[in-house]
Amino acid sequence: MKRIRIRWHIVVFLAPAVVVYTTIMILPLFATLGLALYSEVENERVFVGLQNFQTLFFDPIWSEQFWNALGNNFWFFAIHMLVQNPIGIALAALLSHPRLRFAALYRSAIFIPTILSFVIVGFAWKLILSPIWGIAPSMLDAIGLGSLYQPWLGQEEYALTTLALVSVWQFVGIPMMLIYAALLAIPEEILEAGEVDGITGWSAFWKIKLPLILPSIGIISILTFVANFNAFDLIYAAQGALAGPDFSTDILGTFMYRTFFGFQLQLGDPHMGSAIAGAMFAVILVGVCIYLFGIQTRMRRYQL
């Protein structure tokens, strides 16, 4: 089957995808990283090397905002890992119980928040938590915890955590579904073998099922990481581009948006915006590499 002539049909099959992907995704990605190396001086683009990054990391005016956004972003991610994934795993464990009735109904209902847009989720929770409407305080009152109520979204200490929990509420369906699939894939014989050895109930979950679903938990963690470090919509919908109060909910996505488009008295700056995009790219790349080379290869893959 040695053919020297070009098989044109391969080119035709590949061309549309490669062209769109390259021009709309890959080239702008590198062009943005390139823009970060320039600056605007008297309406002209001048090459400044890594100076924008130096400004971003060390110039107090910028660095304070940058480290604030980066730190907030890590906190945002930490809440997802600590709350979203355990709840998702617990729900999946319940749903995968072999004799549970209405499992499909629960599954579909719990997944509903995930299909809603950030705009709906952001505003809906903003209204519910608002002291003006009073749903949250009166519901807390009803269970005797009324004194705990505070206008969380308006307070610097709590706003970011509250928004992270709202985001957890929205996306818990995804880990739930993926873990559910992983649990269903565990063959009955393995569980029965465990029962013969007296491993049932809780200990069956911890000793048999959990180790078997670790690869799925790894995938969920990296998906969460990428999604969180690229988040923007929820914060923007609930708190606006200024990520208030006093930038306490600012994450890299909102910081980049504000820098690029400008706000209030500050003019938009595509070059500093690109530098922030570069930093986001670096963080995501490091995360993905840690997952691919550090976690995925070491995770024991059981032959199922």
Partner: protein, 279 residues
């Protein structure tokens, strides 16, 4: 079934936990929708009560229809979503077929290159993308959005579809070749119909994120004529923030289309998510 795994007390506890979480998941949606049908006074007096003949009011919806062009936004969202899905499936399936069917130099490298985009979000390149769209005059057009979503959706689509294409029997394709069918006809008439379930999975995965996206409509197509439903409701709510009837009605109207899509496609979506297509 073993006794140890079906204990009645456990069953009650399990249903209790699941019902509690289901209520948490549905409560905000429920509150928004019921209050959108009430008068302003009743929204505040008893937010948890269902609308009755006394408190029922459509004033919010009236404002929404008078002040916002929601039909246009809806139409824009439809055009963007449907066109993006069509091209993701068409281009994705073609590329997946080329990668899984033919051996050629650079096959593996091309596969890796196309897979890069699964992990790297397209938003990182937004600034240069906007400059490019401005330079080509595509800014504030639906075409810009469609191009972006196609580029964003292709990597995962190609990845999922190539796995399925590998399972299509070679005998069938070779039979087609013996009958003198061109490679194009083999792909479109023999292979494509066989991977329909995979195409549906890819479509459902892409549909919701495209419909709900706020970032690219906000940056690439914020003009009045090209606003999508997500952006349109964001801006509308921002302007009417003190008019609770209008805000609640706008939110309910934004919830409605995705709920309809979900009811139609939820089985497909859940089957896709749980079939291991994402592994």
């Amino acid at each position: 079934m073993n006794k140890a795994r079906s204990n009645p007390i456990n069953a009650v506890a399990m249903h209790g936990a699941l019902i509690l979480y289901t209520l948490i998941a549905l409560f905000p949606v429920f509150v928004i929708v019921i209050n959108s049908f009430k008068t302003r006074r009743d929204i505040f007096r008893d937010p948890l009560a269902l609308p009755d003949s006394e408190s029922f009011s459509l004033i919010g919806y009236q404002t929404v229809f008078e002040q916002g062009d929601f039909f246009l936004y809806f139409q824009n969202s439809m055009i963007v979503t449907v066109a993006s899905l069509f091209f993701i499936l068409l281009f994705g399936a073609m590329a997946a077929y080329a990668l899984s069917e033919y051996r050629f130099r650079g096959n593996l490298l091309m596969g890796l290159y196309l897979a890069l985009g699964i992990m790297i979000p397209i938003r990182i390149g937004t600034i240069a993308l906007l400059e490019m769209m401005v330079a080509t005059g595509l800014v504030n057009t639906l075409t810009a959005l469609i191009l972006v979503y196609v580029a964003q959706g292709l990597p995962l689509a190609i990845f999922i579809l190539s796995e399925f294409m590998q399972q299509v029997s070679d005998d069938l394709k070779n039979a087609g070749r013996v009958d003198g069918l061109s490679e194009y006809r083999i792909f479109f008439q023999l292979v494509l119909p066989l991977v329909r379930p995979a195409l549906a999975t890819v479509a459902v995965f892409n549909m919701i994120p495209i419909w709900n996206d706020l970032w690219f409509p906000l940056i690439l197509a914020p003009s009045e004529e090209t606003k999508t439903l997500t952006l349109g409701s964001q801006i509308f709510i921002g302007q009417f923030v003190t008019d609770w009837n209008a805000v609640l009605s706008a939110l309910s109207m934004a919830i409605l289309p995705v709920m309809i899509l979900y009811v139609i496609f939820s089985r497909q979506l859940i089957r896709g998510l749980t079939s291991g297509a994402v592994k």
